[in-house]
Subunit: 227 residues, 2 copies
């Protein structure tokens, strides 16, 4: 906790990035956010000790709290599954208005593992946008947690595919990725999340496929430009 | 034309690979087929001179003909758009039964450039499979023509994503890719073409996006394993 946090109490202090969740994706995203020089707020789902434990892994400006605390980041990244993301959006209501909301989810139908649990012609990102006054940007759904922790795979920088309708919000997420040592690729409007989520599902299917031992949740989806 | 072709006439000679079409994807696939040591039949859409001209670019066992000629390859690859592929399947009828049919198409709705022109919950590959007795295998829909010609991008071997229901057919396509110096990744059953086609569309969107000058129809979609 920094000087201002001690002075005013963290709820009045703005941070750069709020990460909701304390799992592997939260860890990876926190690592990149801190590597990019950002102040970070980590909100645990109920048990603040989990946020404190995750924060203790990093050296940097990291504050902690629980779901329901005011979101101090101008960028908020729920590092949770799609269903939990919907709950977070509903719970905060207008408390997220105007913020940049990064949707990292792959809304895989885990009952069948055959497809996505969003309506045809939509995406998780678009469904979340319908429910929030935040500016939803799709990103980080094709980067595995472990690779975010490292920031690279086999010496290659990670591509971060970004899609969104709000130009400033997209630029903020791309700048976050760049500062974190990653390669943002701005794909287009938020509805391009339909393609990003199917591609993310494909990426997941490779690591879930025991006949492909080379993929172990630590590979990178990369668009390699000609030399 | 090889010795046996001269002796018996090409229509009685089996080849390894039949490519239908004479465009850029046909050129790229012919290059890889020949690099892999295959005999190749090229069938032009109407004008045999185009097949002859394409064949003249290569040194190898290459025969030519026109659409409607008997398909001599055990693997047939229509290197055409989805609508033309449907016509080819209809025209040959049971003439393709038992063959390995490689569907390379990305059924982009070019009237909107917003999505795919296949029913929700299906794919070009599955639609073609409904219409043919050939064994349909999805492959090469995420590899641009120019990159197939070279066989690599920026020194990296090309990934070829493969999906199909017939194990032997899938193995034949994977073996073809390997022999051609590419890296096959067998993703799963034919319905995984739903993900491959959305991913192929994403790949196309990057090169079509003038704000991404690094992508010029010569990049590679790659799944990079950890070192």
């Amino acid at each position: 906790m920094n000087f201002l946090s001690r002075l005013f109490g963290k709820k009045n202090i703005m941070t750069d990035i709020t990460i909701i969740g304390t799992g592997n994706m939260a860890r990876g995203l926190a690592a990149r956010a801190i590597a990019g020089g950002n102040s970070v707020q980590i909100l645990a789902h109920g048990d603040k000790a989990k946020a404190d434990a995750l924060a203790a892994e990093f050296t940097g400006q990291v504050s902690t709290g629980v779901l329901g605390d005011a979101v101090t980041g101008s960028i908020v990244i729920p590092a949770v599954y799609f269903d939990a993301a919907k709950e977070i959006v509903a719970r905060y209501g207008d408390g997220l208005d105007g913020k940049v909301y990064v949707d990292i989810t792959n809304p895989v139908d885990f009952s069948t593992f055959e497809g996505l649990s969003v309506p045809a012609g939509s995406s998780a990102a678009e469904e979340l946008q319908k429910a929030t006054g935040a500016k939803v940007v799709k990103a980080f759904n094709t980067t595995f947690a472990a690779t975010l922790g490292e920031g690279q795979v086999a010496g290659q920088k990670l591509d971060v595919l970004v899609a969104g309708d709000d130009e400033a919000a997209v630029a903020a997420v791309a700048a976050f990725a760049s500062a974190a040592g990653l390669t943002p690729i701005v794909v287009g409007p938020l509805r391009r999340a339909r393609q990003l989520e199917q591609t993310g599902f494909l990426n997941i299917l490779l690591s879930a496929n025991e006949q492909l031992p080379q993929f172990q949740w630590n590979s990178a989806l990369s668009f390699v430009p000609a030399a």
